[in-house]
């Protein structure tokens, strides 16, 4: 027992406390869990709930966009399909939220297949623009069958996730953590349990080489499409149950763009970047409405924050910060705090300057290739 505790303690010290990025993540998660102790103001909790479900949505975009390089401009399709499906299942068949949300997500996976199969024929920007078309086409379909879909009113009167706001908060928080962990593991190239992360990275870097190594790249890209659709669907289902409505606005063009804005702002291809993006931008945009002057110009501020951030940190905020506070040991590839002079594992000298030099050399190598 004590041995086990010691093991846990050592793991905690070695794997979390000594890596600043993970410390921040831990503080963030603990902070979210303890937040209702500070205030249970329903409006504040609403902002956090929305941020939570949008972070699932943004991260799910990142699974596809950041890891396979397939920039999906119509991500709201998955969100909207699941929101509509969850709402319809809830109202027509009286299913409770814990069934409608997964079922809705499975339908979103279906949508992912329908979009993904043909979309994989095209590449790069073409794929982005083909995916852009699907939610708009679906909006047209929604308006053709107003009796079934509710037309511009949407499907209203969907039951709430739970009866109290605090319970809603914890449900969304837990779902968010589970979803993010699964997505993180799914895309983690260093994971020892699942290979998908490594394969997706390989596909993004060089699809032909990946294929030559015997990887069925189409299958994996399709898998990424489905996983991305599934989690966007979970976010969509939660949205429908939290706002009690699923309407055509969940298929809006701008809504798709938002997922991209958040994840690029936070840092693409990281999963946690999307979370950072949502939890910074969404509350800023929402809380600025408390001040009448700020409210007038909040979208202007939003745009300027985006431009300036990407201007100075084109890879995104979280990537930039992690890069500043963590140094990867050039010899054993272990992460270290930026204050260390020697690697915590192999004692090799590490310093900011040195690793920058190494990077520069790397650049030169690239050019020679």
């Amino acid at each position: 027992m004590i041995d086990y505790a010691r093991f846990v303690y050592q793991w905690f010290r070695g794997e979390i406390v000594s890596i600043p990025g993970r410390v921040i993540a831990l503080i963030f998660i603990l902070g979210l869990f303890l937040f209702p102790l500070i205030t249970t103001q329903p409006y504040i909790l609403r902002i956090l709930i929305m941020a939570g479900l949008f972070s699932i949505y943004a991260a799910s975009w990142d699974v596809l966009g950041g890891f396979t390089g397939q920039v999906n401009l119509g991500h709201s399709l998955f969100f909207g399909v699941a929101a509509y499906a969850a709402a319809l299942l809830n109202l027509r068949l009286n299913l409770p939220p814990y069934l409608t949300i997964p079922l809705g997500s499975i339908l979103a996976v279906g949508a992912g297949l329908i979009v993904g199969l043909p979309a994989l024929r095209v590449r790069g920007f073409y794929l982005s623009l083909v995916t852009l078309a699907f939610p708009i086409i679906l909006t047209g379909v929604v308006f053709i069958f107003p009796g079934f879909t509710g037309g511009e009113l949407g499907i209203y009167g969907v039951t709430s996730i739970s009866q109290s706001r605090i319970l809603d908060y914890y449900v969304v928080l837990l779902v968010m953590l589970v979803c993010l962990t699964v997505m993180y593991k799914f895309t983690d190239a260093k994971s020892k349990f699942v290979r998908t992360g490594l394969i997706l990275h390989a596909i993004r870097e060089d699809e032909i080489s990946a294929r030559m190594s015997g990887i069925n790249t189409t299958r994996y890209k399709l898998l990424a499409f489905c996983v991305s659709g599934f989690f966007a669907g979970i976010a969509g289902g939660l949205y429908a149950h939290f706002l009690n409505i699923a309407g055509p606005s969940s298929l809006d063009l701008f809504f798709s763009f938002q997922a991209i804005l958040w994840s690029i702002f936070g840092g693409m291809g990281t999963i946690y970047g999307a979370v950072v993006g949502v939890f910074i931008l969404y509350p800023i945009l929402e809380l600025s409405r408390l001040q009448p002057i700020l409210e007038e110009i909040r979208f202007l501020i939003f745009g300027l924050i985006l431009i300036l951030t990407l201007f100075f940190m084109p890879e995104g905020l979280s990537v930039w910060v992690v890069d500043k506070i963590e140094i990867i040991c050039p010899r054993c590839k272990i992460k270290n705090v930026f204050t260390r002079k020697y690697c915590r594992a192999c004692r090799a000298p590490i310093s900011r300057n040195m690793s920058e030099e190494i990077q520069k050399e790397g650049d030169i190598d690239d050019i020679r290739l």
Partner: protein, 437 residues
């Protein structure tokens, strides 16, 4: 040293004074009635919701506020930009913020129906009265009938619901048809419907398909551009080629401006009649460069002789009211209900609001009773709020309906006359159809 001490005393004294004033104003603030005006404040709809509410609040405060029991309370408005045109989730957050952070006592305004339906849930959760001034969707009140106790805090005071609006539009179409029969001698005029593709016109179109033949007209086609379309040239040319005499418009979105302008620009030889929001402002003459001439528009409000609302509105804002300015009525109706029951407690005020019989500048404001299929909807009818038909005649928007005779075969309308001019057909239309004979 002594000076130093004095300084401290002085600072403490100032601090206490500020605190006292703060507490005092806080006490004073507690005596106000806070009304949240919720809508897309950066857009035309929101601007007018705010202006209408502002006018009412200023007038009420000038007259000494609202009498709640024995005390008089001032009205304080809170501007709530809910951005409902772009984001429904923003709209829902906004109403919750208004209720829980700004602590408003009542809400008015509204907008996009999808957002309204979602806002109703929050309203019901906190039991706040929402006087909707900006939506005609039947579903909003139909759900009150299904779950009265939950949604009873919602009233439709600005616009009529879809069914009544349809009736009012048919009344206007009937007026045009009568004139065509009389002036052009065409017994069964052809009608083309152009309606934006959202849901609420569906009911009107369905009714039109059934009603128009009965009213002695022939429907030649229905065109449904999207609400945000920026060009209707194709639709209008197609309508002209179908030999339509009447263009029946149903729109509340951006597209209705487009077809008004293009109607004049293309010199379509037909009479345009129906629902168009933008065409109701006096600025529209200039905005459309006079292209809206002879267009007949149904309206919930009108500049009637002897009524001061339009005059006051213009003096205060240098602009004409639109439908959404009826937040003005909403606030007066609430005021009256509060004064009758002597409290601002929601359930008591709802009970009083249901008994409302308020004389507004546009007629009697009475709501449907709770056992109606659409409870809490504003009633349209000869003895109630009548609605109007306004026609653009050379730069002026003049009331031409109701004009004292029966409407849609209903004799009760006889004698109810608000018109100040006779309805006219566009001269180009008379010329065109006379030459065709």
């Amino acid at each position: 040293m002594k000076n130093q001490e004095m300084k401290w005393y002085f600072i403490i004294a100032v601090f206490l004074a500020v605190l006292m004033v703060g507490i005092a104003t806080d006490v004073k603030a507690a005596k106000k009635i806070k009304i949240g005006v919720i809508g897309p404040m950066k857009y035309l709809v929101g601007e007018h919701q705010w202006m209408g509410a502002q006018l009412a609040a200023e007038q009420i405060n000038k007259a000494g506020g609202i009498a709640v029991g024995s005390e008089r309370r001032m009205v304080e408005l809170v501007k709530v930009d809910d951005n409902n045109l772009l984001s429904v989730s923003d709209a829902v957050s906004a109403i919750e913020r208004a209720i829980t952070v700004d602590k408003v006592d009542f809400l008015t305004g509204g907008g996009r129906s999808e957002a309204n339906l979602a806002q109703q849930e929050v309203m019901a959760k906190y039991k706040k009265i929402f006087m909707n001034a900006s939506s005609g969707a039947m579903q909003l009140s139909m759900r009150i009938a299904k779950n009265y106790d939950k949604y009873k805090y919602w009233f439709r005071v600005g616009m009529f619901n879809g069914k009544y609006t349809g009736g009012l539009i048919f009344a206007n179409v009937e007026l045009v048809a009568k004139k065509i029969r009389k002036d052009l001698g065409i017994a069964t005029p052809n009608v083309a419907i152009i309606a934006e593709k959202v849901m609420w016109p569906d009911a009107i179109i369905k009714a039109a398909k059934a009603q128009l033949p009965k009213m002695g007209m022939k429907l030649v086609g229905v065109w449904r551009p999207s609400a945000s379309a920026t060009d209707t040239t194709s639709e209008l040319t197609a309508i002209k080629n179908k030999r339509a005499h009447i263009i029946f418009t149903i729109g509340g979105g951006p597209v209705d401006t487009v077809w008004s302008v293009q109607y004049g620009e293309l010199q379509i030889p037909a009479a345009m009649v129906g629902l168009s929001t933008d065409a109701l402002r006096s600025k529209f003459w200039k905005d459309s460069r006079g292209n809206c001439n002879y267009q007949l528009v149904m309206s919930y409000l009108a500049d009637l002789p002897g009524k001061t609302f339009y005059k006051e509105y213009r003096e205060r804002f240098n602009d004409d009211p639109i439908f959404h300015s009826l937040t003005y009525d909403a606030i007066y109706v609430v005021k009256e209900a509060i004064e009758r029951c002597g409290t601002v407690e929601s359930d008591a005020v709802v009970a009083e609001l249901e008994k409302t019989d308020f004389q507004s500048f546009r007629g009697r404001i009475v709501f449907h009773p709770k056992d109606h299929a659409t409870p809490h909807d504003l009633i349209w009818g000869p003895k109630y709020a009548t609605g109007f038909g306004l026609q653009w005649q050379d730069g002026k928007l003049v009331p031409v309906l109701p004009r004292g005779d029966a409407v849609l075969g209903d004799e009760r309308w006889k004698g109810i006359n608000y018109s100040t001019a006779e309805y006219k057909l566009p001269p180009r239309m008379i010329k065109y159809w006379k030459s065709k004979k």
